[in-house]
Amino acid sequence: MSATRQFSPVAKLEQKTVVDLIGKGKRVDERGPEDYRPTTITLGVVEKANGSAQVYLGKTKVLAGVKIQPGTPFPDTPNEGILTVNAEFVPLASPTFEAGPPDENSIELARVVDRGIRESKAIDLKKLCIEPGKKVFMIFVDVYVLDHDGNLIDAAAMAALGALVNAKMHAFKVEKGEPVYLEEVIPIPMQNYPVSITSVKVDGAIVLDPCLEEEQVMSCRLTVTTGKDDNICAMQKGGLGFLTPDEIKQIVSTSINKARDLRAKMLSNVK
Protein backbone atom coordinates (compact mmCIF):
# COMPACT_ATOMS: atom_id res chain seq x y z
CA MET A 1 0.00 0.00 0.00
CA SER A 2 1.18 3.51 -0.71
CA ALA A 3 2.14 5.21 2.56
CA THR A 4 3.39 8.60 3.74
CA ARG A 5 7.15 8.51 3.55
CA GLN A 6 9.39 9.13 6.46
CA PHE A 7 11.58 12.03 5.44
CA SER A 8 15.24 11.21 5.57
CA PRO A 9 16.71 12.97 8.56
CA VAL A 10 18.11 16.28 7.41
CA ALA A 11 19.28 18.68 10.06
CA LYS A 12 16.69 21.40 10.61
CA LEU A 13 19.39 24.04 10.17
CA GLU A 14 20.37 22.63 6.81
CA GLN A 15 16.74 22.50 5.71
CA LYS A 16 16.30 26.09 6.81
CA THR A 17 19.38 27.15 4.84
CA VAL A 18 18.04 25.55 1.67
CA VAL A 19 14.59 27.10 2.10
CA ASP A 20 15.93 30.55 3.04
CA LEU A 21 18.23 30.64 0.02
CA ILE A 22 15.42 29.74 -2.37
CA GLY A 23 13.29 32.44 -0.73
CA LYS A 24 16.00 34.94 -1.67
CA GLY A 25 16.13 33.70 -5.29
CA LYS A 26 19.39 31.84 -4.66
CA ARG A 27 20.22 28.15 -4.32
CA VAL A 28 22.56 25.91 -2.31
CA ASP A 29 24.75 25.25 -5.34
CA GLU A 30 24.73 28.89 -6.42
CA ARG A 31 22.45 28.36 -9.41
CA GLY A 32 19.63 30.67 -10.43
CA PRO A 33 16.01 29.42 -10.04
CA GLU A 34 15.76 28.39 -13.70
CA ASP A 35 19.30 27.07 -14.18
CA TYR A 36 19.79 23.44 -15.07
CA ARG A 37 22.83 21.67 -13.61
CA PRO A 38 25.64 20.80 -16.05
CA THR A 39 24.62 17.75 -18.03
CA THR A 40 26.83 15.24 -19.79
CA ILE A 41 25.70 12.24 -21.75
CA THR A 42 27.96 9.39 -22.89
CA LEU A 43 26.65 6.84 -25.35
CA GLY A 44 27.59 3.21 -25.80
CA VAL A 45 29.11 2.61 -22.38
CA VAL A 46 27.89 -1.00 -22.23
CA GLU A 47 28.88 -2.97 -25.34
CA LYS A 48 26.65 -6.00 -24.74
CA ALA A 49 23.53 -3.87 -24.71
CA ASN A 50 21.95 -2.87 -28.04
CA GLY A 51 22.20 0.68 -26.83
CA SER A 52 23.27 2.44 -23.68
CA ALA A 53 23.77 5.91 -22.27
CA GLN A 54 25.16 7.31 -19.07
CA VAL A 55 23.93 10.67 -17.90
CA TYR A 56 25.41 13.00 -15.33
CA LEU A 57 23.01 15.66 -14.13
CA GLY A 58 25.15 17.51 -11.65
CA LYS A 59 26.13 14.70 -9.28
CA THR A 60 23.16 12.55 -10.18
CA LYS A 61 24.29 9.60 -12.27
CA VAL A 62 21.97 7.36 -14.26
CA LEU A 63 22.74 4.56 -16.70
CA ALA A 64 20.20 3.23 -19.17
CA GLY A 65 20.53 0.12 -21.33
CA VAL A 66 18.40 -1.06 -24.23
CA LYS A 67 17.97 -4.71 -25.13
CA ILE A 68 15.99 -5.83 -28.17
CA GLN A 69 14.54 -9.29 -28.63
CA PRO A 70 11.65 -10.94 -30.49
CA GLY A 71 8.43 -11.69 -28.62
CA THR A 72 4.65 -11.92 -28.87
CA PRO A 73 2.69 -8.68 -29.51
CA PHE A 74 -0.18 -7.50 -27.33
CA PRO A 75 -3.58 -8.59 -28.73
CA ASP A 76 -4.79 -4.98 -29.13
CA THR A 77 -1.68 -3.89 -31.10
CA PRO A 78 -0.87 -6.98 -33.21
CA ASN A 79 1.34 -5.14 -35.70
CA GLU A 80 3.36 -3.01 -33.31
CA GLY A 81 6.55 -3.68 -31.44
CA ILE A 82 6.53 -3.54 -27.65
CA LEU A 83 8.20 -0.94 -25.45
CA THR A 84 8.91 -1.71 -21.81
CA VAL A 85 10.56 0.70 -19.39
CA ASN A 86 11.79 -0.47 -16.02
CA ALA A 87 13.78 1.34 -13.35
CA GLU A 88 16.02 0.01 -10.63
CA PHE A 89 16.95 2.14 -7.64
CA VAL A 90 20.07 0.13 -6.88
CA PRO A 91 21.11 0.24 -3.23
CA LEU A 92 24.55 1.62 -4.02
CA ALA A 93 23.01 4.87 -5.24
CA SER A 94 21.66 6.23 -1.97
CA PRO A 95 21.50 5.39 1.76
CA THR A 96 17.71 5.35 1.43
CA PHE A 97 17.54 2.72 -1.34
CA GLU A 98 17.01 -0.88 -0.38
CA ALA A 99 17.38 -4.08 -2.38
CA GLY A 100 14.16 -5.89 -3.23
CA PRO A 101 11.18 -5.60 -5.54
CA PRO A 102 10.62 -2.12 -7.06
CA ASP A 103 8.87 0.28 -4.70
CA GLU A 104 6.29 2.88 -5.73
CA ASN A 105 8.95 5.51 -6.41
CA SER A 106 10.84 3.45 -8.96
CA ILE A 107 7.56 2.30 -10.53
CA GLU A 108 6.41 5.91 -10.79
CA LEU A 109 9.71 6.97 -12.36
CA ALA A 110 9.64 4.13 -14.89
CA ARG A 111 6.05 4.88 -15.82
CA VAL A 112 6.68 8.61 -16.27
CA VAL A 113 9.69 7.89 -18.51
CA ASP A 114 7.64 5.28 -20.39
CA ARG A 115 4.77 7.76 -20.90
CA GLY A 116 7.14 10.35 -22.36
CA ILE A 117 8.56 7.92 -24.92
CA ARG A 118 5.24 6.27 -25.73
CA GLU A 119 2.98 9.32 -25.94
CA SER A 120 5.44 11.35 -28.02
CA LYS A 121 5.60 8.36 -30.38
CA ALA A 122 9.38 8.52 -30.10
CA ILE A 123 9.74 5.03 -31.59
CA ASP A 124 7.93 3.99 -34.76
CA LEU A 125 6.68 0.73 -33.26
CA LYS A 126 4.98 -0.33 -36.51
CA LYS A 127 8.42 -0.83 -38.07
CA LEU A 128 9.24 -3.41 -35.40
CA CYS A 129 6.64 -5.92 -36.51
CA ILE A 130 7.93 -9.29 -37.75
CA GLU A 131 4.68 -11.17 -38.33
CA PRO A 132 1.42 -9.42 -37.36
CA GLY A 133 -0.23 -10.99 -34.33
CA LYS A 134 2.57 -13.51 -33.90
CA LYS A 135 5.98 -11.95 -33.58
CA VAL A 136 7.33 -8.45 -33.03
CA PHE A 137 10.46 -6.92 -31.58
CA MET A 138 10.35 -5.97 -27.93
CA ILE A 139 12.43 -3.04 -26.77
CA PHE A 140 13.42 -3.16 -23.12
CA VAL A 141 14.71 0.05 -21.61
CA ASP A 142 16.23 -0.54 -18.19
CA VAL A 143 17.14 2.50 -16.17
CA TYR A 144 19.77 2.10 -13.49
CA VAL A 145 20.09 4.86 -10.91
CA LEU A 146 23.73 4.86 -9.79
CA ASP A 147 24.03 8.03 -7.72
CA HIS A 148 21.04 9.94 -6.36
CA ASP A 149 21.50 13.67 -6.02
CA GLY A 150 17.97 14.69 -6.98
CA ASN A 151 15.85 14.97 -10.13
CA LEU A 152 16.02 11.32 -11.06
CA ILE A 153 13.10 11.60 -13.49
CA ASP A 154 14.83 14.05 -15.84
CA ALA A 155 18.13 12.19 -15.69
CA ALA A 156 16.38 8.86 -16.32
CA ALA A 157 14.37 10.24 -19.25
CA MET A 158 17.52 11.65 -20.80
CA ALA A 159 19.46 8.40 -20.31
CA ALA A 160 16.58 6.34 -21.74
CA LEU A 161 16.37 8.58 -24.81
CA GLY A 162 20.16 8.48 -25.24
CA ALA A 163 20.19 4.69 -25.05
CA LEU A 164 17.40 4.47 -27.64
CA VAL A 165 19.21 6.83 -30.01
CA ASN A 166 22.39 4.84 -29.48
CA ALA A 167 20.72 1.44 -29.98
CA LYS A 168 21.56 -0.65 -33.03
CA MET A 169 19.84 -3.77 -34.26
CA HIS A 170 20.54 -6.04 -37.19
CA ALA A 171 18.45 -5.32 -40.27
CA PHE A 172 16.14 -8.26 -40.89
CA LYS A 173 13.92 -9.84 -43.47
CA VAL A 174 11.04 -12.15 -42.69
CA GLU A 175 11.05 -15.76 -43.87
CA LYS A 176 8.22 -18.09 -42.81
CA GLY A 177 7.33 -15.77 -39.96
CA GLU A 178 10.84 -15.82 -38.51
CA PRO A 179 13.27 -12.91 -38.65
CA VAL A 180 16.40 -13.58 -40.69
CA TYR A 181 19.12 -11.18 -39.63
CA LEU A 182 21.27 -9.42 -42.21
CA GLU A 183 24.82 -8.10 -41.93
CA GLU A 184 23.70 -4.50 -41.98
CA VAL A 185 23.22 -2.77 -38.64
CA ILE A 186 20.39 -0.22 -38.33
CA PRO A 187 19.22 2.18 -35.63
CA ILE A 188 15.84 1.93 -33.90
CA PRO A 189 13.28 3.87 -36.00
CA MET A 190 13.08 7.09 -33.96
CA GLN A 191 10.62 9.86 -34.84
CA ASN A 192 10.55 12.09 -31.75
CA TYR A 193 12.84 13.13 -28.92
CA PRO A 194 10.92 13.69 -25.67
CA VAL A 195 12.65 15.70 -22.93
CA SER A 196 11.44 15.92 -19.32
CA ILE A 197 11.83 19.01 -17.19
CA THR A 198 11.07 18.83 -13.47
CA SER A 199 10.41 21.81 -11.23
CA VAL A 200 9.81 21.85 -7.49
CA LYS A 201 7.92 24.20 -5.22
CA VAL A 202 9.77 25.18 -2.08
CA ASP A 203 8.12 27.62 0.31
CA GLY A 204 6.03 29.13 -2.48
CA ALA A 205 8.94 29.57 -4.91
CA ILE A 206 9.52 27.47 -8.03
CA VAL A 207 12.97 26.16 -8.97
CA LEU A 208 14.02 23.94 -11.86
CA ASP A 209 16.07 20.74 -11.68
CA PRO A 210 16.10 20.18 -7.89
CA CYS A 211 19.17 18.70 -6.23
CA LEU A 212 18.64 16.23 -3.40
CA GLU A 213 18.68 18.86 -0.61
CA GLU A 214 15.99 20.78 -2.46
CA GLU A 215 13.87 17.66 -3.00
CA GLN A 216 14.01 17.00 0.72
CA VAL A 217 12.42 20.35 1.51
CA MET A 218 10.03 20.59 -1.46
CA SER A 219 6.28 20.70 -1.03
CA CYS A 220 5.76 19.14 -4.44
CA ARG A 221 7.22 18.68 -7.90
CA LEU A 222 5.87 18.85 -11.42
CA THR A 223 7.43 17.07 -14.39
CA VAL A 224 6.54 18.25 -17.90
CA THR A 225 7.70 16.20 -20.88
CA THR A 226 7.60 17.76 -24.33
CA GLY A 227 8.38 16.50 -27.83
CA LYS A 228 10.21 18.18 -30.69
CA ASP A 229 7.05 20.02 -31.82
CA ASP A 230 6.87 21.66 -28.34
CA ASN A 231 3.72 19.65 -27.63
CA ILE A 232 3.30 18.40 -24.09
CA CYS A 233 3.22 14.59 -24.10
CA ALA A 234 3.38 13.68 -20.41
CA MET A 235 3.03 15.32 -17.02
CA GLN A 236 3.25 14.16 -13.45
CA LYS A 237 2.80 15.95 -10.17
CA GLY A 238 4.41 14.34 -7.14
CA GLY A 239 4.77 15.07 -3.46
CA LEU A 240 2.39 16.08 -0.71
CA GLY A 241 1.91 19.72 -1.68
CA PHE A 242 -0.25 21.48 -4.22
CA LEU A 243 0.08 24.02 -7.02
CA THR A 244 -2.11 26.94 -8.02
CA PRO A 245 -3.37 26.97 -11.63
CA ASP A 246 -1.08 29.96 -12.33
CA GLU A 247 1.97 28.18 -10.95
CA ILE A 248 1.18 25.20 -13.18
CA LYS A 249 0.84 27.36 -16.29
CA GLN A 250 4.08 29.16 -15.49
CA ILE A 251 5.95 25.87 -14.96
CA VAL A 252 4.57 24.47 -18.21
CA SER A 253 5.72 27.42 -20.27
CA THR A 254 9.21 27.51 -18.67
CA SER A 255 9.53 23.76 -19.15
CA ILE A 256 8.69 23.95 -22.85
CA ASN A 257 11.44 26.52 -23.42
CA LYS A 258 13.98 24.69 -21.30
CA ALA A 259 13.25 21.37 -23.02
CA ARG A 260 13.82 22.96 -26.42
CA ASP A 261 17.35 24.10 -25.39
CA LEU A 262 18.19 20.82 -23.72
CA ARG A 263 16.99 18.75 -26.68
CA ALA A 264 19.07 20.78 -29.12
CA LYS A 265 22.14 20.50 -26.91
CA MET A 266 21.67 16.79 -26.40
CA LEU A 267 21.06 15.94 -30.06
CA SER A 268 24.09 17.94 -31.18
CA ASN A 269 26.23 15.89 -28.76
CA VAL A 270 24.67 12.62 -29.78
CA LYS A 271 24.60 12.83 -33.56
Binding site: S2, E108, Q236, K237, G239, F242, I248
Partner: protein, 254 residues
Protein backbone atom coordinates in the same frame (compact mmCIF):
# COMPACT_ATOMS: atom_id res chain seq x y z
CA UNK B 1 -5.79 -4.82 -37.26
CA UNK B 2 -6.38 -1.23 -38.21
CA UNK B 3 -7.65 0.95 -35.45
CA UNK B 4 -11.08 1.68 -36.82
CA UNK B 5 -11.34 5.33 -36.02
CA UNK B 6 -14.86 6.04 -34.84
CA UNK B 7 -15.80 9.71 -35.19
CA UNK B 8 -15.72 11.03 -31.67
CA UNK B 9 -17.42 14.35 -32.45
CA UNK B 10 -20.39 14.66 -34.82
CA UNK B 11 -21.31 17.58 -37.08
CA UNK B 12 -23.15 19.33 -34.26
CA UNK B 13 -20.11 19.06 -32.00
CA UNK B 14 -21.77 16.39 -29.88
CA UNK B 15 -19.88 13.41 -28.53
CA UNK B 16 -20.42 9.67 -28.93
CA UNK B 17 -22.69 9.59 -25.84
CA UNK B 18 -24.49 12.77 -26.90
CA UNK B 19 -22.71 15.11 -24.47
CA UNK B 20 -21.49 18.62 -25.28
CA UNK B 21 -17.75 19.16 -25.07
CA UNK B 22 -17.90 20.70 -21.59
CA UNK B 23 -20.55 18.40 -20.16
CA UNK B 24 -19.91 16.02 -17.28
CA UNK B 25 -21.19 12.47 -17.23
CA UNK B 26 -24.01 11.95 -14.73
CA UNK B 27 -22.79 11.51 -11.15
CA UNK B 28 -24.39 9.67 -8.27
CA UNK B 29 -22.79 10.07 -4.87
CA UNK B 30 -23.68 8.28 -1.64
CA UNK B 31 -21.92 8.75 1.68
CA UNK B 32 -21.79 6.16 4.46
CA UNK B 33 -22.66 3.10 2.40
CA UNK B 34 -20.62 0.61 4.42
CA UNK B 35 -21.35 -0.49 7.96
CA UNK B 36 -17.97 -1.54 9.34
CA UNK B 37 -15.73 1.15 7.87
CA UNK B 38 -15.17 4.35 9.86
CA UNK B 39 -16.09 6.27 6.74
CA UNK B 40 -17.25 5.28 3.27
CA UNK B 41 -18.62 6.60 0.02
CA UNK B 42 -19.90 5.23 -3.26
CA UNK B 43 -19.56 7.16 -6.48
CA UNK B 44 -21.00 6.45 -9.90
CA UNK B 45 -19.38 8.69 -12.45
CA UNK B 46 -20.77 7.75 -15.84
CA UNK B 47 -20.34 3.99 -15.90
CA UNK B 48 -17.59 4.07 -13.29
CA UNK B 49 -18.70 2.42 -10.07
CA UNK B 50 -16.33 3.11 -7.23
CA UNK B 51 -16.40 2.32 -3.54
CA UNK B 52 -14.10 4.02 -1.05
CA UNK B 53 -13.63 3.21 2.64
CA UNK B 54 -11.52 4.78 5.36
CA UNK B 55 -10.31 3.08 8.52
CA UNK B 56 -8.70 5.21 11.15
CA UNK B 57 -7.12 7.04 12.71
CA UNK B 58 -6.04 3.77 14.29
CA UNK B 59 -2.92 2.38 15.88
CA UNK B 60 -0.03 2.12 13.46
CA UNK B 61 0.73 -1.43 12.51
CA UNK B 62 3.54 -2.46 12.11
CA UNK B 63 4.66 -0.02 14.76
CA UNK B 64 7.87 1.08 13.06
CA UNK B 65 5.95 2.86 10.28
CA UNK B 66 4.51 5.37 12.77
CA UNK B 67 5.56 9.01 12.47
CA UNK B 68 6.16 11.13 15.55
CA UNK B 69 4.53 14.30 14.25
CA UNK B 70 1.51 13.11 12.26
CA UNK B 71 -0.53 10.16 11.06
CA UNK B 72 0.76 7.94 8.31
CA UNK B 73 -1.75 7.96 5.49
CA UNK B 74 -1.93 4.78 3.45
CA UNK B 75 -3.82 4.36 0.25
CA UNK B 76 -4.70 1.39 -1.92
CA UNK B 77 -6.31 1.86 -5.30
CA UNK B 78 -7.45 -1.46 -6.68
CA UNK B 79 -9.53 -2.64 -9.62
CA UNK B 80 -11.82 -5.62 -9.35
CA UNK B 81 -11.00 -8.44 -11.81
CA UNK B 82 -14.44 -8.02 -13.42
CA UNK B 83 -14.29 -4.23 -13.68
CA UNK B 84 -12.81 -4.14 -17.21
CA UNK B 85 -13.54 -5.66 -20.63
CA UNK B 86 -10.78 -8.24 -20.30
CA UNK B 87 -10.44 -9.83 -16.88
CA UNK B 88 -7.84 -8.01 -14.83
CA UNK B 89 -5.59 -10.07 -12.61
CA UNK B 90 -6.40 -9.29 -8.98
CA UNK B 91 -2.71 -8.84 -8.17
CA UNK B 92 -1.84 -5.12 -7.99
CA UNK B 93 -0.38 -3.95 -11.31
CA UNK B 94 2.29 -1.29 -11.76
CA UNK B 95 -0.46 1.09 -12.85
CA UNK B 96 -2.40 0.50 -9.64
CA UNK B 97 0.72 1.02 -7.54
CA UNK B 98 1.42 4.33 -9.27
CA UNK B 99 -2.19 5.45 -8.92
CA UNK B 100 -2.22 4.52 -5.21
CA UNK B 101 0.71 6.90 -4.81
CA UNK B 102 -0.67 9.84 -6.79
CA UNK B 103 -4.12 9.50 -5.17
CA UNK B 104 -2.54 9.51 -1.71
CA UNK B 105 -0.55 12.60 -2.65
CA UNK B 106 -3.73 14.24 -3.91
CA UNK B 107 -5.61 13.62 -0.66
CA UNK B 108 -2.86 14.17 1.93
CA UNK B 109 -2.67 17.95 1.63
CA UNK B 110 -6.35 18.13 2.63
CA UNK B 111 -6.09 15.88 5.70
CA UNK B 112 -5.02 17.37 9.05
CA UNK B 113 -2.84 14.40 9.83
CA UNK B 114 -0.87 16.39 12.42
CA UNK B 115 -3.75 15.81 14.89
CA UNK B 116 -3.07 12.07 14.99
CA UNK B 117 0.65 11.41 15.50
CA UNK B 118 1.77 7.77 15.70
CA UNK B 119 -1.42 6.49 14.06
CA UNK B 120 -2.49 5.47 10.57
CA UNK B 121 -5.35 6.45 8.34
CA UNK B 122 -6.06 3.80 5.72
CA UNK B 123 -7.85 4.65 2.50
CA UNK B 124 -9.16 1.84 0.32
CA UNK B 125 -10.51 2.48 -3.15
CA UNK B 126 -12.10 -0.38 -5.05
CA UNK B 127 -13.04 0.11 -8.67
CA UNK B 128 -16.04 -2.17 -9.24
CA UNK B 129 -16.53 -1.03 -12.83
CA UNK B 130 -14.06 1.05 -14.82
CA UNK B 131 -15.03 3.46 -17.60
CA UNK B 132 -12.18 6.00 -17.84
CA UNK B 133 -11.51 8.54 -15.13
CA UNK B 134 -11.35 6.05 -12.28
CA UNK B 135 -8.56 7.83 -10.41
CA UNK B 136 -10.53 11.08 -10.36
CA UNK B 137 -13.77 9.41 -9.32
CA UNK B 138 -11.73 7.48 -6.74
CA UNK B 139 -10.47 10.75 -5.26
CA UNK B 140 -13.99 12.21 -5.23
CA UNK B 141 -15.16 9.12 -3.31
CA UNK B 142 -12.16 8.84 -0.97
CA UNK B 143 -12.37 12.51 0.10
CA UNK B 144 -15.98 11.90 1.14
CA UNK B 145 -15.07 8.69 2.95
CA UNK B 146 -12.42 10.64 4.92
CA UNK B 147 -14.99 13.29 5.84
CA UNK B 148 -17.52 10.58 6.74
CA UNK B 149 -14.93 9.02 9.06
CA UNK B 150 -14.89 12.33 10.93
CA UNK B 151 -11.27 13.04 10.12
CA UNK B 152 -10.52 16.77 10.27
CA UNK B 153 -9.86 18.12 6.79
CA UNK B 154 -8.90 21.51 5.44
CA UNK B 155 -11.44 20.95 2.69
CA UNK B 156 -12.76 18.28 0.33
CA UNK B 157 -10.89 17.16 -2.79
CA UNK B 158 -12.71 16.65 -6.09
CA UNK B 159 -11.34 15.00 -9.22
CA UNK B 160 -12.17 15.25 -12.90
CA UNK B 161 -10.26 14.76 -16.13
CA UNK B 162 -10.25 16.75 -19.35
CA UNK B 163 -8.71 15.65 -22.61
CA UNK B 164 -8.64 16.00 -26.35
CA UNK B 165 -10.69 14.10 -28.92
CA UNK B 166 -10.95 14.76 -32.66
CA UNK B 167 -8.68 17.78 -32.21
CA UNK B 168 -10.93 19.43 -29.61
CA UNK B 169 -10.45 19.89 -25.88
CA UNK B 170 -13.29 18.12 -24.08
CA UNK B 171 -14.29 17.42 -20.49
CA UNK B 172 -14.51 14.09 -18.66
CA UNK B 173 -13.51 11.45 -21.24
CA UNK B 174 -15.50 8.25 -21.51
CA UNK B 175 -13.91 4.87 -22.19
CA UNK B 176 -13.96 5.13 -26.03
CA UNK B 177 -12.75 8.72 -25.92
CA UNK B 178 -9.90 7.81 -23.59
CA UNK B 179 -8.77 4.89 -25.76
CA UNK B 180 -9.07 6.65 -29.12
CA UNK B 181 -8.60 10.25 -28.05
CA UNK B 182 -5.44 12.32 -28.32
CA UNK B 183 -4.83 13.26 -24.70
CA UNK B 184 -5.98 12.73 -21.12
CA UNK B 185 -5.43 15.18 -18.25
CA UNK B 186 -6.61 13.97 -14.82
CA UNK B 187 -6.84 16.77 -12.24
CA UNK B 188 -7.81 16.93 -8.56
CA UNK B 189 -8.72 20.25 -6.99
CA UNK B 190 -9.01 21.57 -3.45
CA UNK B 191 -11.78 24.00 -4.40
CA UNK B 192 -11.74 26.48 -1.50
CA UNK B 193 -8.06 27.36 -1.77
CA UNK B 194 -8.18 26.82 -5.55
CA UNK B 195 -5.11 24.60 -5.67
CA UNK B 196 -4.41 21.48 -7.70
CA UNK B 197 -3.24 18.41 -5.77
CA UNK B 198 -3.22 15.86 -8.60
CA UNK B 199 -2.03 16.54 -12.11
CA UNK B 200 -1.04 13.99 -14.71
CA UNK B 201 -1.10 14.02 -18.46
CA UNK B 202 -0.51 11.74 -21.37
CA UNK B 203 -1.07 12.22 -25.08
CA UNK B 204 -0.30 15.36 -27.02
CA UNK B 205 -1.40 18.90 -26.19
CA UNK B 206 -0.08 22.29 -27.21
CA UNK B 207 0.49 24.81 -24.44
CA UNK B 208 -2.76 26.61 -25.35
CA UNK B 209 -4.77 23.38 -25.39
CA UNK B 210 -3.27 22.43 -22.05
CA UNK B 211 -4.32 25.71 -20.44
CA UNK B 212 -7.82 25.30 -21.85
CA UNK B 213 -8.06 21.68 -20.63
CA UNK B 214 -6.75 22.62 -17.17
CA UNK B 215 -9.31 25.44 -16.76
CA UNK B 216 -12.06 23.14 -18.01
CA UNK B 217 -11.25 20.37 -15.54
CA UNK B 218 -10.85 22.81 -12.63
CA UNK B 219 -14.29 24.21 -13.39
CA UNK B 220 -15.72 20.68 -13.45
CA UNK B 221 -14.06 19.86 -10.11
CA UNK B 222 -15.96 22.82 -8.64
CA UNK B 223 -19.23 21.42 -9.93
CA UNK B 224 -18.39 17.99 -8.50
CA UNK B 225 -17.46 19.63 -5.19
CA UNK B 226 -21.00 21.06 -4.93
CA UNK B 227 -22.40 17.55 -5.43
CA UNK B 228 -20.01 16.20 -2.78
CA UNK B 229 -21.24 18.78 -0.27
CA UNK B 230 -24.85 17.96 -1.11
CA UNK B 231 -24.19 14.23 -0.60
CA UNK B 232 -22.53 14.85 2.78
CA UNK B 233 -25.37 17.11 3.88
CA UNK B 234 -27.91 14.50 2.82
CA UNK B 235 -26.08 11.80 4.77
CA UNK B 236 -26.21 13.81 8.00
CA UNK B 237 -29.82 14.84 7.53
CA UNK B 238 -30.64 11.13 7.40
CA UNK B 239 -28.64 10.52 10.59
CA UNK B 240 -30.27 13.51 12.28
CA UNK B 241 -33.76 12.31 11.33
CA UNK B 242 -33.02 8.88 12.79
CA UNK B 243 -31.80 10.40 16.05
CA UNK B 244 -34.85 12.66 16.24
CA UNK B 245 -37.14 9.69 15.69
CA UNK B 246 -35.42 7.71 18.43
CA UNK B 247 -35.70 10.61 20.82
CA UNK B 248 -39.38 10.91 20.02
CA UNK B 249 -39.84 7.21 20.67
CA UNK B 250 -38.10 7.40 24.05
CA UNK B 251 -40.21 10.40 24.99
CA UNK B 252 -43.41 8.51 24.19
CA UNK B 253 -42.36 5.43 26.18
CA UNK B 254 -41.33 7.63 29.08
Amino acid sequence: MDNKQVRLLDDNGLRVDGRRIDELRPLKIEVGTLDKADGSAYVEHGRNKILAAVYGPREAHPKHIALADRAVIRCRYHMAPFSTDERKSPAPSRRELELSKVIREALEPAVMSEYFPRSTIDIFIEVLQADAGTRCAGITAAALALADAGIPMRELVAGCAAGKVDGKVVLDLSDVEDKQGDADLPVALMPKSNVVSLLQMDGSLTEEEFKQALDMSIDACRRIHEMQREALRHRYHVVKDEVDKEEEATEVSA
